[in-house]
Amino acid sequence: MRQAGTYSGISGRNNGPHSLPLARIKRIMKGSSDEVKMISGEAPIVFSKACELFIEEITKRSWAMTVQGKRRTLHKEDVASAVVATDVFDFLVNIVDSDHHPSSFVNSEKSTDIVILPET
């Protein structure tokens, strides 16, 4: 499951087995906002575990949708259904929207854009 020694830590040392690359996590963290200036060495390590739990949770919920549809292949739509059905994943609704373009999610702020349509 975990790959020991495959990923070097931010300081270039082996911080132990982590299933996600720490340097990449750090880069994503920095890209989240200009406010993020310094990140301690342990923060990406916490995230590598948190992301694992996050991915596991969405996957489990998505799979429930797959099974409901009597299928054996987990599709993007199952992920979308799981996101919509779970309050805590509200921040992901734009991501799983089928019309969404990947390039814009990087700069997305915490609050989702609310479009108010004029009444006709």
Binding site: E42, A50, E56, I58, R72, T73, H75
Partner: protein, 142 residues
């Protein structure tokens, strides 16, 4: 295209984590994995933003593991936050033991990067390790 991938976790890693939690016969579409990559990056950004806000309000420059745990809890991921607290504790213990080992071997852990707040002296570093339980902050200026 390379730039986009830098903002995402590798699809192989994401796919592997997904596979682990599913029954052996389950299949995962490539699009589902890609969606999960994007969701993961958004998760990291979302939580980091919250943690960073807190640091900013408290006039701290460095986002640390405790801030991430706090942000997870604050955003509704209480169940992760609990597990993270323990994971972080274990990691700090691990780091402390390794720092002690390095110290024993070389007199001073020359390979370690030091927290910006620590005075540049071996004594201060040792004290910090003993006081704070080994949370060595490895920071790089952006």
């Amino acid at each position: 295209m390379v730039d986009e991938n830098e903002k995402l976790l590798p699809i192989a890693n994401v796919g592997r984590i997904m596979k682990q939690i599913l029954p052996p016969s389950a299949k995962i579409s490539k699009q589902a994995k890609e969606t999960m990559q994007e969701c993961s990056s958004e998760f990291i950004s979302f939580v980091t933003g919250e943690a960073s806000d807190k640091c900013h309000k408290e006039n701290r420059k460095t986002v640390n593991g405790d801030d991430i745990c706090w942000a997870l809890s604050s955003l509704g991921f209480d169940n992760y936050a609990e597990g993270m607290g323990r994971y972080l504790h274990k990691y700090r213990e691990f780091e402390r033991e390794r720092a002690n080992q390095n110290k024993a071997n070389s007199g001073f852990a020359t390979g370690e990067e030091r927290d910006e707040q620590i005075a540049h002296s071996p004594t201060a570093f040792e004290l910090r390790v003993l006081e704070k339980g080994g949370s060595s902050s490895l920071t790089k200026p952006s």
